[in-house]
């Protein structure tokens, strides 16, 4: 028989979920509704004159060349950040998992970057690679590369990708390490007895068993790359040069807070919401099926 919690009082369960409901309504449903409504309006920043324009804001946004560019930039940026931070974290976790002596120290040190907020990480990287005063920029210049991310869009992109991925490695590392430690030793030992070398053991035993963790991290990392990297972009490039690093969420911010175009910006937010919902659905419905649990 199924074990079930029952309430004698019919109101009590509702009362218990009320705080959660209030939080959801106040902090999610209400602002999302406002964004939806705003996206159908055209008004000046102070809200003194307002016109209902149906879907014109969406049409304008979609026809805007810089919006399409922002899409492309976001795709390149998110995929690069996710792949890079997952790959590096996985390598580090596998290595840290093998270490016998001083393992805790390594682990602690590798988790540290996660404590650095993205905006601070951005400022640090921007400073290190500043073409005029950066220490690392000096090193790059000395091997004959003309380094200037203020002007070169590809270099700017490279820099924000690395800064974002770096600030994410610690988080991924913790999860991968926990995942590795949850794999029963007996499986690995059995494979070893059967004659499988370290590489083979990794690909045929460890990697598949690690895939639920990997899948979870991929979802979380893509969402991170979409939204939380704002701080890095803002601190390092402000979306420049020539919009080469203007990801969608940065454009939403810049159009509304710098440009004071509330309608257009709200329309972009709505599109962004739809994208994230879509991405999540695709990930859980199609990719999850291929994951071993």
């Amino acid at each position: 028989m199924q074990k079930r919690v029952t309430f004698d009082n019919r109101l009590l369960p509702y009362l218990l979920v009320t705080p959660q409901l209030i939080i959801t309504i106040v902090f999610f449903i209400w602002p999302a509704g406002q964004a939806l409504f705003q996206s159908l309006l055209r008004e000046d920043a102070f809200g003194t004159s307002s016109e209902f324009v149906w879907f014109e804001n969406f049409v304008r946004v979609i026809e805007d060349e810089s919006y399409l560019n922002s899409f492309r930039v976001t795709a390149i940026f998110s995929i690069s950040v996710t792949v890079l931070s997952l790959a590096i974290a996985l390598v580090l976790a596998v290595m840290a998992d093998r270490i016998v002596r001083g393992g805790t120290t390594y682990r602690t040190l590798l988790i540290w970057p996660y404590a650095v907020a993205p905006a601070v990480a951005g400022a640090l990287w921007g400073f290190l690679f500043n073409p005029r005063i950066g220490v690392l920029a000096y090193g790059i210049e000395s091997i004959g590369v003309n380094w200037n991310y203020f002007l070169n869009g590809d270099q700017a992109m490279l820099l924000v990708v690395f800064a974002s991925a770096w600030s994410r490695i610690g988080y991924n590392f913790v999860f991968f390490l926990a995942g590795l430690q949850a794999i029963p030793r007996s499986l690995i030992e059995a494979a070893a007895i059967d004659g499988a070398g370290p590489a083979r053991r990794f690909w045929t035993v460890i990697f598949p068993l690690l895939s639920p963790t990997g899948f979870f991290l991929m979802v979380v990392n893509i969402v991170f790359a979409f939204f939380e990297t704002f701080g890095v972009i803002h601190a390092v490039t402000q979306g420049g040069p020539s919009k080469a690093t203007e990801i969608l969420v940065y454009k939403v911010w810049s159009d509304s807070f710098r440009g004071l175009d509330l309608g257009g910006s709200a329309a972009q937010s709505v599109i962004l919401m739809a994208i994230v919902v879509g991405l999540t659905v695709v990930q859980f419905r199609y990719i999850e099926r291929r994951v071993h649990y």
Partner: protein, 443 residues
């Protein structure tokens, strides 16, 4: 909770309440949101102190709200929530947007008339007041911190290059020639510029008396178009781009990012805001590196150049929505701010230009310009000639975004991706779309 402590708490709360009420009855608070951080913020606090000590009815409360953009955004959000401050400092590029917000702002000329405050627009330096006035000369917002772009040169580096350290280049061809000599003498770069759109496109136009946009640069209407792809500007940008070869000109980033290239001694010449004088003094002059300040260079083949430069900086806008009586205090504060002695003090402390002719005279009479040579270049350049419709100022809607567009297009030129003509044509096309949007939203 212990009954005693509860009673104490209650008493304390009551006392605090009466105390606040007591102040509120005696004095009306005037909220002033501004964007002046660091030393400038302290100068603002001193201004407020001076005003508060001079009278008993009002208390001016300056509140630092972050950057110009953040301050403006905060004020807009507050206005929408019906909690607007009385006064907000808005940068010059926000002027058209503020003007269009009818019902949200209280024009200064009207406020001064409503409360019968003494006020004469002719007392204010013409290119400063003109930038913030209607086409028929009525002041909309109170000039506060104004600068303009000037030319700086490193005298030590001039000497090393065999140039006369007391003779800055007057024209652009001379800048090119001097730049080559500087680089030949071992300098990393001939010259660089701050705020490329403000200096090389906007001020460049006023200085050469050529328009930036139709309808008197936007003063006579909102349905306007940009005119920045004219032959003079195209030639100018083309020349700068060609000077990148050999590092005669080196681009150092947007806004004020290039300043360290001059202060570190990489570049021998520099076009920047007059407000940077303080930084230059602290990091160069006080360390024994002599720096000269002069007028911006011009193209000698352009008729009417040099005309006068235009300002940058910010003004104080009065927001609607507060009790009518409060605005009397605002009027008094504006009177205090325009007082020659107060204004001269602000000018000498901060490096911003004096906003009234009388304040300029006060600074002169105190020997300020002998002690700090070059600090009067900005005001001399602003008032070089009677402003024309091309050099009065700019009234451009969505200006923040249009500056972004110009920045992007110029960067494409510096990166060698576009020719000057292509970039400026594209800036006009993209900018006109933003202007059309603005005209539509603010009919």
């Amino acid at each position: 909770m212990h009954p005693m402590s509860r009673r104490t708490l209650f008493a304390a709360a009551l006392a605090a309440g009466t105390c606040v009420a007591g102040i509120a009855q005696a004095q009306t608070e005037i909220q002033f949101w501004h964007a002046m951080g660091g030393q400038l913020g302290e100068a603002v606090n001193r201004l407020a102190d001076g005003f508060n000590k001079g009278q008993k009815d009002y208390k001016l409360v300056p509140i630092y709200k972050g950057s110009y953009t953040e301050t403006l955004t905060a004020a807009i959000a507050a206005f929408r929530a019906k909690q607007a401050p009385h006064l907000v400092q808005v940068f010059e590029v926000g002027t058209a947007n503020m003007m269009a917000a009818k019902g949200a702002v209280y024009p200064v000329h009207q406020l001064m008339a409503d409360f019968k405050q003494p006020f004469d627009i002719k007392a204010y330096v013409a290119p400063v007041a003109g930038y913030y006035s209607t086409a028929d000369g009525k002041l909309l917002s109170m000039p506060f911190n104004s600068s303009t772009s000037v030319f700086y040169w490193n005298k030590d580096m001039f000497k090393k290059a065999g140039l006369d350290p007391e003779k800055p280049p007057k024209t652009w061809p001379e800048v090119g020639e001097y730049g080559k000599k500087l680089v030949a003498s071992g300098a990393k770069c001939g010259f660089t510029t701050q705020w490329q759109t403000w200096i090389q496109i906007e001020n460049f136009g006023a200085w050469h008396n050529i328009p930036f946009a139709t309808k008197q640069n936007g003063f006579a209407g909102t349905d306007i178009q940009l005119l920045i792809n004219d032959p003079v500007r195209v030639k100018h940008i083309e020349t700068l781009a060609s000077w990148q070869k050999g590092n005669v000109f080196v681009y150092g980033g947007r806004e004020g990012k290039s300043t360290p290239m001059f202060t570190s001694g990489d570049c021998g010449m520099f076009m920047g805001s007059a407000g940077t004088a303080g930084t230059i003094e602290a990091s160069m002059i006080s360390k024994g590196v002599p720096v000269g300040t002069g007028f911006l260079p011009y193209w000698p083949d352009v008729k009417g150049a040099p005309q006068n430069s235009i300002i940058g900086g910010a003004t104080i806008w009065v927001m609607q929505g507060r009790p009518k009586a409060d605005y009397k205090g605002v009027g008094q504060f504006f009177g205090y701010l325009s007082d020659p002695a107060v204004q001269a003090q602000w000018h000498m402390e901060t490096g911003y230009v004096p906003i009234t002719y009388a304040a300029y005279e006060v600074a002169k009479s105190r020997g300020f310009y002998q002690a700090k040579p070059g600090r009067d270049v900005a005001i001399k350049q602003l008032t070089l000639n009677e402003p024309t419709p091309n050099s009065k100022g700019l009234r451009i809607g969505n200006f923040v975004q249009i500056r972004d567009v110009m920045d992007e297009e110029l960067e494409a030129v510096w990166a060698g991706k576009k020719t000057a003509k292509q970039a400026l044509d594209s800036a006009v096309e993209r900018g006109n779309k933003l202007l059309a949007d603005f005209a539509r939203a603010n009919k």
